[in-house]
Every structure is written in C-alpha cells, then in structure tokens.
C-alpha cells in the first residue's frame, strides 16, 4: 500500500486522537494537573519555616536609651519574634515598632560579617575580610605609633555607649592610653541635667515622674513620637476610661500634639519664653507653690548684693519682662491661652513640665531647660511624686585605679579636642558637634590622628554632613566597631564588627523612675551568626596587643567575666530576673538633697554653680540664615516610625512610614497649604529645598498641621549606606546635612532647632 501524505496525516491524527482518549482514561493528565497545582502551592523558592520546640528568652532592647524588656520567641535555635516583656519595669510589655523589628538587624543584609580592611579609596566600599588578629593589630599598631610620637591625645573615640560597663571600659581605655577625648552625643538630657545642677547643685540624671503625674505640660517633647517608651504614657492621652491631662507646646501637629488635650502652637524657638510667660501668670496670681518657694528656694525675691546693689530676683524679673501680652507677641500663643495653661498647670494635683524636642537627641538651649525647670520649681514638684527627680548615676561600674605612664599623663593633661569640660564650658561633658569645625580649621595636622567609633554613626548624625565628611578626610585612621555597614563604617579604614545586642551579654541602663534606675542584662538570644566579636573583648584584646601597663589595666579574661565580676552579688538576680534596680527615690527628701551653697533651690543660677557664672537672656533662640534669601523656616521633626539616630530604620519600620513622608525615593516636606498657595506649590510638586548649609530635592506635602511659614522634614531618612536590600538606601533627605549647629553660649551644646530655608520649584 502506498502511504501518501494524506494517509499519513489521517493515521497520525487517529493515533493522536486515540492517545488523547487513552490519556483521559488514565490517571496521567489528572494527576499531573493536581500535582502541578500542588507544586504551585509549594514553590521551592517560597521558604518553609522549620518547626520545632518553642522557647522564650528574656532580654532587653538596646536600640534606644529606653532599655525596654523584651521576650524573644525562638523556634529551636532561630529567633522568630521580639515581643515586649511583661512586668519589666521599662516598657512593661510595651514595645515600639523599632524594638519589635530587632530581628531584622540580627539577620539583615546590613551586617558586617567579619573584620574588614579597606582596600579601595575611603568610602568606595571595597573591602578585604581579615582575621581578628590582623584587625586588632591594625588598630594597636596605629595606637602604638601615636604614643611613640607622644601624641596619645590625638586619639578620639566617638562612643554611643553612654552608661554601663562598656562605656566604662572605653573611658578607662582612653584614660590609660592617654587621651581625654571620649566623645559622645549630647542629648536634651545633658541640658536638663545641667539645669538641675545649676539650680540644685546635684549631678545626676533628671527624670520626670510621668507615671505618677496627672498633668504634663510638654514643651515639644516627643512623648508619643518615640522619644519615650510609649508604655510610660499610660493614662495619657485621655480616653473612655478616664486619663490624665497633656498639653503639648509645638509648632507642628506631631503625634504627641495630636493626642494632647490641648495643642499650643507656639512659634518654634520660643518655648522658653512661653514657660516664663506661664511663670509670670503663676506668680502674679499667686498660684505657685508658695510654701516650697518660701522655704526651699533662693533667689526668688530680690536680694541685696553688698552695698546698695540690688540683685534682681526671679519674681521681679519675670513680672517685669514676661508679661503675657509680650510673651504672646513673641510666641504667637494667645494671651488667654497663656493664662489658661498657667492656671491649669498650677491647679493640677501632680503637674510636671517637661522639655526636649522630639526624641531629645539635640541638646538644645540651656535657657529653655532652665525656664522649664523653674516652672517645676514654681509648682513645687521637685522630688515629689509626679514631679522632677535628680538621680545619681548608678556607680556599679568600679574598676581598680589603673597605673599610668608619662605619655598617658601628658596626653590626659591636654585639653579635650571638642572644648568640653574647658573653662568656657565646664559643666558640659561632651560637645561632639564642635569636632568637625575644630578639625577643619586646625592649622597643620588634624588634632585627631586616629578615630575609633562604636555604637554611633557620626557621619550621619552630626549636623552639617559636608563639613563632617571634610573633617573625617583629615583623620588619617578611622576604625569602626559597628555591627552594621553604616555611613561611618563605610568611611572607615578597618571595621571590627561588634555582636548585635541579641548575640551577647550587655548591661543596659534604662531611664529612671521613682523606683530607681533599672539596669537590665541583655543576653545572647542566639549564638553569634557571623565572625563578630564583643566590643568589650575587643578592647581587652587591643589593650593586650598594646602590652605593658595598658595590658595590665585590662587584665580581665573576657567581657563576660568582667560582667560577672562587676555585678558580683547582684549577678544572680540580674541573670534570673533580667534586671536590678539602683538608687530608688524617696520622695520629699528635698532639704537634704539640694547641694547648692544655700542648700536651697537656686533661682539665681550663678549662686547655684559658682564655677560657671553666666547670665541668661531668655529670648527667642536664634536661627541661621537671613530672612531675605530664605523666607521659610525649616524644622526637623522626629517620628516614632523613624529611627532618627543610630542605627538606621529597619525594613519593617520603613514599611510603616506614610506615603506623605516618603514617596519612592523622594522625601516629602510638610508645608502649610496657605504657605504653599502663596508659593504656588501644590501636593506632590518636586522642589529644591535650600538652606545656608546645603540643598536637596524634596516633594511637597500639604499638611494643615504645620505652622504657616514653617516647613518640616523628618529625621532619619537620607541614608547613603546600609545594604540596598535594607530598603532605606538613598531615600529621602538627611536633614542633618541641611542644618548647622548653633552653639549655646552657656553650655556649648548644639541648640539649633531649625534653619532658614527656601523652596524653588524644579
């Protein structure tokens, strides 16, 4: 038979047809269809989290100074979730979004996985992994060299560790080495503590007894914007089950202002003036705590200074200079409102006035801190429940006095590079923001020859980024101990990565309360993931490498053994319960606690701290830039959804940022619709933001809650480091780059709250 094309086609079709029928009658198509569907339900690239025994490790959060207790849920050896730890004195089970995101730092792509040595140009991002021995000798060689050149004081250490054993180790290391230059960020607390020192003569940390207060008069403090553990705000704001009163003074409707009973929209920079206006009303209407003032205060009434010179007392100064009408003119707060606030504050049972803008990461103006502190004195709530306490810092970190050699003694005798603790600023411990300018204007070599950085990201956080970078370029050697590839780590010469707080022991000192200061113990929740090393151990290792008496001063076996040794009798308690309390407060012990020459609360600050006489102007705080070229005022603001300082926002936090704050890579600038209308700007417009310090491209967001004429940018955006997968890289604007520091004449602190700015449409 001849098989032609037609026959072949017919046969082939029949065969295919038969095959189709046969297949349908077999399991093949149906099973394949089902199995393929099952395959889509279990795509190999969709992870399957392994199950196992669940356990919880109790520890403490180290991502901000709050030190809230955390409970970490584990599945076998993996940490899967961080939750608030109930019954922990800090946080009491509550945790902010940052603390909840902690595991993203631990497992995230921004980790530095081993010691690294720079091989490219600085900041280029080319690294070579090196061994720990090599990394430590990189540092010790440099340090040996400085000592050999008799320049130990040209070593500086920028440290984010403020309290506790690590801070103690760093202080001790520099002391033994021979440098006075431990540099730390000054926060609002530094100003407030100093105000307390001037008026009460007590050194220590101020805390406001929020828990027991029923009325808070807040001068811009971001109580609910992440500056404070939110759980402490229990009862504020008012709600269906009662609650306490909060008055928020702020130029922008922040989350705190939104939750306040009353939002007082004062001109930015006039908070101190407003406080004195309120004081004026209290004094005039005799609604201040007359008993306290009469018995416990000095300098309130006019005094006599030898001869017929009259020393003007606080009372007449305020009555004379801060009449509500005048204050209203300066602050923009209606006269009625000033009276109203003063009366409500005065008549509340337990009222307290607080300050510190936003997260309180900028020290601010001494006048403002003083004015607010005076209000508390007028209320008579010093060392009273619901009032203000000054607590001595915990002194559990006690090391034996180290030996010193000549070089170290010489170095320690030099003045600090940042000018803190100098004759000019005797009471300010650190003035980190002054460092760039000092280096940049120094003749010849940089006064800092080697810089070590731990727990801080100065390249991001110090104002005026450009000049910070310029000053870093002049420092021959920079080493970072950061566990993350942050801006400063990227710009360093060698990185000796620390563990994260979830991989090691660490003592964390929380904010104080009536029950005392809480010292918590961070525990290793998981074993270290990478080739990192505890900063404490690294310090001991470096000391060992330096040898001699320095080695002897750090003769501990390891950080852990030092920790155990330090807590001694408390070790049992702190490991089992997770925390110990120190220095509990006994309310009302005022008379014994004021340490001024008069043993009273001093309204006359110069009598309070005679070593640093100054006079306060109590005026609106100045601002950089001229109104002619820069018609608007730029203020930075803090948000609880943005980690403004160190470390940078984790992806979960970035995910909850509103699209009115960050849109794709554009940071949004808040502007009042009325102001925008004048400038012919509308929602979403791309604009160039210029200040005397720099410029940036931003996007307009119309916000009724920001004062006309003022524009607001959030802190915490505009990162240029971390991993790109971190989701924050190159997004928005770092407002620190657009502002310069303004030096407080009394303390030297940075008191800049804003800067003049202009917007031009692109």
């Amino acid at each position: 038979m001849k098989i032609d094309r037609r026959k072949f086609l017919a046969g082939f079709s029949a065969c295919v047809g038969g095959g189709a029928v046969g297949s349908m009658l077999s399991p093949l198509p149906w099973k394949v269809m089902d199995d393929v569907a099952i395959w889509t339900q279990n795509w190999p690239w969709t992870p399957v989290p392994q199950d196992g025994r669940y356990s919880y490790v109790q520890s403490v959060c180290a991502l901000c100074p709050g030190g809230c207790g955390i409970s970490v849920r584990k599945v076998k050896s993996r940490a899967v979730k961080i939750e608030g730890l109930k019954d922990h004195p800090a946080g009491n089970g509550g945790l902010c979004p940052l603390g909840l995101s902690g595991l993203q730092y631990l497992y995230g792509p921004a980790r530095v996985k081993s010691p690294l040595k720079r091989v490219g140009k600085r900041g280029e991002g080319k690294w070579q992994p090196i061994s720990w021995d090599a990394a430590i000798s990189e540092v010790s060689q440099k340090l040996n060299e400085l000592r050999a050149r008799n320049k130990p004081h040209s070593l500086a250490w920028i440290s984010g560790e403020n309290k506790g054993i690590l801070a103690g180790l760093i202080d001790r290391f520099l002391k033994v080495y021979g440098s006075p230059n431990v540099l730390r960020d000054s926060t609002a607390h530094d100003a407030i503590d100093q105000a307390a020192y001037h008026t009460q003569g007590q050194r220590g940390t101020v805390f406001w007894d929020i828990e027991n207060a029923d009325f808070i008069l807040s001068f811009g403090a971001g109580l609910m914007d992440g500056g404070w553990p939110l759980a402490r705000m229990n009862g504020f704001p008012k709600s269906a089950d009662g609650g306490k009163t909060l008055i928020q003074v702020e130029a922008r409707l922040s989350d705190t202002a939104a939750k306040a009973d009353l939002w007082v929209a004062a001109n930015p920079g006039t908070e101190g003036v407003l406080a004195l206006g309120i004081a004026h009303v209290m004094i005039r209407e005799l609604i201040y705590n007359i008993d306290f003032i009469n018995r416990q205060a000095s300098g309130f009434e006019d005094g006599v200074m030898g001869g017929d010179q009259v020393l003007q007392g606080f009372k007449s100064m305020v009555l004379e200079k801060y009449k509500p009408e005048k204050v209203s003119g300066i602050t923009g707060v209606p006269v009625d409102a000033i009276f109203d606030i003063a009366r409500r504050f005065a008549k509340s049972d337990k009222a307290v006035a607080v300050c510190g803008r936003g997260h309180g990461r900028v020290a601010g103006c001494m006048d403002e801190a003083l004015a607010v502190h005076y209000l508390n004195a007028l209320k008579g709530n010093i060392h009273q429940p619901g009032g203000v306490f000054v607590v001595a810092d915990p002194d559990y970190v006690r090391f034996p006095e180290p030996g010193m050699d000549k070089i170290a003694e010489y170095g320690l005798g030099q003045t600090r590079v940042d000018g803190a603790q100098s004759e000019k600023f005797p009471n300010s411990r650190y003035l980190l923001h002054r460092l760039p300018e000092i280096i940049n204007t120094a003749d010849g070599d940089s006064p800092v020859q080697a810089l070590l950085v731990s727990g801080a990201n100065p390249l991001y956080t110090i104002p005026d980024g450009k000049s910070v970078k310029k000053s870093f370029d002049k420092i021959p050697f920079i080493a970072s101990f950061s566990p993350f590839m942050d801006e400063t780590a990227v710009y360093s010469d060698v990185i000796l990565p620390d563990h994260t707080y979830l991989e090691c022991y660490r003592d964390i000192v929380s904010q104080g309360s009536m029950d005392g200061i809480v010292v918590s113990l961070a525990k290793p929740v998981v074993r270290p993931l990478y080739n990192t090393s505890h900063l404490g151990d690294v310090i001991i290792q470096i000391a060992k490498a330096l040898g001699g008496y320095i080695e002897t001063a750090f003769a501990w076996k390891s950080y852990e053994s030092l920790l155990e040794e330090t807590f001694a009798d408390n070790w049992e308690t702190i490991t089992s319960s997770g925390y110990i309390r120190m220095n509990p407060q006994i309310p009302g012990t005022v008379a014994t606690s004021f340490n001024t020459p008069s043993k009273k609360f001093e309204f006359n600050i110069n009598a309070g701290a005679p070593e640093a006489p100054f006079s306060s102007a109590f005026e609106k705080i100045a601002m950089e830039g001229d109104a002619q070229n820069y018609p608007l005022t730029l203020i930075p603001y803090d948000s609880i959804r943005l980690a403004g300082n160190y470390p940078a926002n984790p992806p979960f936090m970035t995910k909850i940022i509103d699209d009115t704050v960050l849109k794709k890579t554009h940071g949004c600038i808040e502007i009042n619709p009325a102001t925008a209308k004048q400038l012919r700007l509308s929602e979403g417009d791309a604009v160039k933001l210029s200040t005397p310090r720099g410029e940036a491209d931003v996007q307009i967001h119309l916000y009724e809650g920001v004062m006309p004429g003022v524009i607001a940018l959030p802190r915490g955006l505009g990162h240029t480091a971390y991993s790109e997968e971190w989701g924050l890289y190159g997004k928005g604007v770092n407002v620190n780059d657009l502002m310069g520091p303004i030096e407080d004449p009394v303390s030297g602190f940075n008191m800049a709250w804003g800067i003049r700015a202009k917007l031009t449409k692109i």
Partner: protein, 270 residues
C-alpha cells in the same frame, strides 16, 4: 466532640479599638509583620501594593492650622459577620473557589493561600481594603528567612492574603488547653499579636458573645461605632472615639444625617 454544624456562631471573636488612646505608633503593624511572616520590598511607599494585615490610617479633620486634629485609625480585617450575621461577609460569598470561609466556631474569616488562585474578586468586594495581593514573590534577603515563624505559612506570588486575627495563636492556645485537659480558653490565652503589642493598650480583644470578656461591655460604649455599618457588613471590629468628626468619618452620611441618630437604628436592626 462533635462540633455543631448549625449556622449559629458559638464564639464571635472581635476587637474594640480605643481611638482616643491610639497614638499611631505603628507597633501593631510591625508586630503583625513579624508574627505573620509579612514580607517587605525595597520600596513600600506605594501603600496600594504594600502588604499590611493591619493598616494605621491617618485621618484629619480638614481644619486649618491650628485647629487641625489628627486621628489614627488602625484597620485590621473586620471579620465581617455579613448581612444578618449569617457569615455572608462581602468577601466570603464572592470567592469562586472557597479559598475564604467564615468559621462558625469563632466568627473568623479565613484565607487559604494555597486554595486561592488570585482572581482578586474578594478584594473588589471588601470596602475596607483589608485584603492584599501578592504582586511579587516574597523575598527575605540575607539571613532573614531565619526569623520566619513556622506557625503561619509564607505566601507565594499571585494570591490574596489578609488578617486572620492570628488564628494560629488560637490553635496553639487550644493545643495547650488539650494538653491541660481544658475545654475552654481563658480570655488572655488567645490575643492577636497586634493587640498584645499595643504599647498604650488601645486594643481589646475577646469573644463578643461572652459577658465575661472585656469586649462584651466595651462594644456597647456610648461612643462605640463600627466602620461602614450602614453597608450591613457587620464588622466585628469596634472603635471608640470621643470625637464626633472621627465617628462621622467611620461611615457615610447624607448632609442632613448625623451618626448618633442613625446608629440606634442600625443597632435595633441587628
């Protein structure tokens, strides 16, 4: 242990959120991400393709400075009981493949990712935008897969997901109860992650049918309301706000209508 197959909801788990307390911190959202293996992308600024099982919406009273007020509104899945509380929530009735159902023992609306084939009809049906679509394959960079919880299965691209009131916590609590030979759960044994995480305790969770649970009383607060009550979706998430403009924002009203007057009508109906 036969479970009733009749359509009467034994327990109706629900939530009462006090908007006066909520500070908009976002801890509920982050806690939810961590609890439920919610992924993140490099850019999450387009909130319309960003997966959130609970969103905190910022509302303002639209008044000029300085009379402006803002109120944060956390919105999980409302776990609607549907018209007449028969479990016909807007989304359940439309799903063509039974990838979502109403559980008559808890009143919780499920979403089964492996059943869902991504038609998105339920998203169109839900007026609360509680349902989110996986437009992308989820990716956890570096070692981040290690923090994934085994109690919630990660979702693949192409399916819808939504808040489950942390049903796995209910399951785990029940396992524990079995082990301890108990039949009933205590109020505090089953709490969703968001409720537990709220640092200001603005959220309360429990069985709306159980007089011993806090939500039972709270839902009858004079300032309590639900979102879009007039659509008869019968949400199980209640809100409390002392501000009239907030309550008004919770639903739609003709110019001559006011929330208070209508609400009593709505309550009488159900």
């Amino acid at each position: 242990m036969k479970e009733s197959a009749t359509h009467e909801t034994a327990r109706r788990y629900g939530m009462v959120i006090d908007l006066d307390k909520c500070t908009g911190c976002g801890a509920c959202m982050v806690s939810c991400y961590a609890e439920n293996n919610v992924p993140f992308k490099k850019d999450e600024s387009n909130k319309l393709d960003s997966i959130n099982w609970i969103r905190v919406v910022k509302m303002t009273n639209q008044k000029p400075y300085p009379d402006t007020q803002i109120c944060y509104l956390p919105m999980p899945c409302m776990q609607c009981d549907g018209v007449g509380k028969h479990g016909h929530s807007p989304c359940v009735s439309v799903c063509p493949a039974v990838a979502t159902d109403y559980d008559f023992t808890t009143g919780i609306v499920s979403q089964i990712y492996t059943r869902c084939f991504g038609c998105r009809y339920c998203m169109a049906a839900c007026p609360y935008h509680a349902r989110k679509f996986n437009w992308w394959d989820p990716v956890w960079p570096a070692d981040m897969e290690k923090y994934l919880s085994p109690n919630v299965s990660p979702r693949m691209r192409g399916v819808v997901e939504k808040c489950s009131f942390c049903f796995h916590r209910y399951q785990l609590a029940r396992d524990k109860a079995y082990q301890e030979e108990r039949a009933e759960l205590e109020e505090n044994e089953y709490q969703p992650a968001c409720v537990e995480a709220c640092p200001v305790k603005a959220m309360t969770f429990g069985d709306l049918n159980n007089p011993a649970h806090a939500v039972y009383e709270l839902k009858n607060h004079k300032h309590a309301f639900r979102l879009l009550e007039r659509l008869e979706t019968n949400p199980k998430v209640y809100y409390i706000s002392s501000k009239e403009w907030v309550r008004r924002n919770g639903d739609n009203y003709l110019p001559d209508e006011a929330p208070g007057r209508l609400k009593s009508k709505a309550k009488a109906r159900h």
